[in-house]
Symmetry: C2
Subunit: 350 residues, 2 copies
């Protein structure tokens, strides 16, 4: 072991930070398992893809911890179960796959009423049923400090896997739905006291809370676009900028986001205005919208948008792919100027 | 909702207890998803089995929480990573399947040295490589209170799934390896101060610690027995009695265990003698051995034992299946007497 590695080994997880840590682990796993011909997509994408008797299976796991990802006081158990499933199904969709089955591991303190567990499972069952996913059990364990949820989803690919890499210079960036609503919802939940006197429009509030607590993953998109030429895809889980950055870095390109064409909901706009908050900030750096960002060649863009809109899935062009520049994500303004964009959720961030 | 259900809903998880809670959830999931023709094995077995384009896939998830399942002071990170994988691969083996891929979700406080994370992954990678399992990533998250590990394994079935149900009257009960070593190892770790002056044989101590911290799942058994007639199977994770009970109850039979034929290691015996502890107690109610219990028709038993022993997997007859009696598990003594057996690990137990 070189001296540099030894020094690095003594750093803490917090010092190195989430993304460098994950990058390091992915490299190690790629080295150990990447050469196996059954590995279609290894560590480091939205989900892994592995061939089982010739059938490419998509597998993902996600964690939700109390007081890290949610608070018991504002997260009803039904929504917690729903959202745990949603997060994993969104990863399956981001790979271009159809969900098949899910499992849930649940850690409980023991003082939860049975009603809580029942409602948690009803939430999970509801979303599974709505998306044709089979919920087939999991694991129940005691937890000393708060509720823990791990969700596992298994999906099936019919065509090629959509990767984070593969975006090409000239590609159009398409986004489903709107972004920033979930971040607005989280902000409302975490600032309940401060927002009491703001007289925020209650429908807008309900919309954003719903988007945060009960996200609807875009599970129908892969089948709808099975004949489209999708160069790259990722779901917006940690924030538009940071997830766009992941696609750009993995593809070796720079992504330009049109700052005046971000799809913002009327709810987000009205709350931001009332609260004196910058609406784009929520849209750019707030996560948990679980929309899909797609890089498609320009001749394909209109067709893809049409197909999605016909299925009642809003979709719009929000940017383009340009040659690699020093910064992976740029925000472009109508006057032709642009600026590097940063930010989004990171665990262990200082 | 009936009044009875409403009353039950107000009970806490601890009041209802782990097994009734899990039973309740399995029934709900069976009701919601059991009729789907793609579900080969739903909730309530060692793992779920679902058909993906005609290929039966086996899926399982398991959790390890700090100070519930392990303590940082006595669980080296390498062993923690190894064991997380082992537990899930054991479930795959208990279904009669071959492991294909695994994922790990890891919750960290942030103050762990990078060396800790590296060693954790090296342990997981080692067991994956030893068993032909592809470790394809997972999820990293911050945890407020202690380390959390969720392990996911995906397996492929070549023949019929081995179920907990299916044991028939007259079947012989076969067990691989020895039981009680892991429980002895855990006892040693949790009683370090008290056992200091006992002068326990160090090789025996090392053996039991190793069995507890680095269990070797029986992943080779399904392929070896692919042509054998296995009526039922389960892995010994919570204890021989309780896991035998699960097989018996699921099969609608009673299991008789020959108390004088329990496979106990010399290490366990010597530590029990020195410590004044009943060796069968560790063997009967201690869990985490990750051996396989198989119910096979008597004409098959000798062949199955031979095949396993030729592959250097110890296996022996430890009991038989009899008609359903009031108690699901009986301990039989050579004098013809028998007694009901109880006990094993349960979360939320009072």
């Amino acid at each position: 072991m070189a001296a540099g590695q030894r020094r690095q080994g003594r750093m803490t997880v917090r010092e190195i930070g989430e993304y460098p840590l994950v990058h390091r682990l992915c490299q190690r796993l790629e080295h150990a398992f990447g050469i196996d011909p059954r590995v279609v997509v290894g560590a480091g994408d939205d989900a892994a893809v592995v061939e089982a008797n010739g059938v490419p299976m998509v597998l993902t796991v996600d964690t939700q911890l109390e007081d890290i990802h949610f608070r018991r006081r504002w997260m009803p158990p039904f929504d917690l179960g729903w959202k745990a499933i949603a997060i994993s199904l969104s990863d399956i969709a981001a790979m271009g796959a159809r969900p098949l089955a899910a499992l849930l591991a649940l850690g409980l303190q023991g003082d939860e009423p049975l009603e809580f567990v029942d409602a948690f499972y009803e939430g999970a069952i509801s979303l599974c049923q709505a998306t044709g996913t089979l919920l087939l059990g999991g694991d129940t364990t005691r937890s000393l400090n708060g509720i823990m949820v791990c969700s596992v989803a298994l999906g099936v690919l019919s065509g090629q896997a959509w990767r984070r890499k593969g975006a090409q210079i000239g590609d159009v960036l398409l986004l489903t739905g709107t972004v920033g609503d979930a971040a607005t919802g989280l902000w409302l939940l975490e600032h309940e006291e401060a927002t009491k006197d703001l007289q925020l429009p209650s429908e807008a509030v309900q919309h954003c809370l719903h988007r945060f607590r009960r996200p609807m993953p875009r599970t129908a998109v892969p089948d709808l676009l099975s004949n489209a030429d999708i160069h790259a895809a990722i779901d917006i889980s940690d924030g538009l900028v940071i997830d766009t950055e992941r696609m750009a870095i993995n593809s070796g390109v720079t992504a330009k986001l049109y700052l005046n064409q971000l799809p913002l909901s009327a709810s987000l706009r009205s709350i931001a205005t009332q609260a004196g908050h910058d609406p784009s900030q929520w849209a750019l750096t707030g996560g948990e919208d679980y929309e899909l960002l797609l890089a498609v060649p320009p001749p394909e863009a209109a067709k893809v948008c049409d197909i999605l809109r016909q299925a009642n899935i809003p979709a719009q062009v929000i940017g383009e792919v340009v040659a690699k520049e020093p910064y992976p994500v740029l925000g472009a303004l109508p006057d032709g100027t642009h600026q590097p964009l940063f930010g989004g959720f990171q665990h262990f961030a200082p």
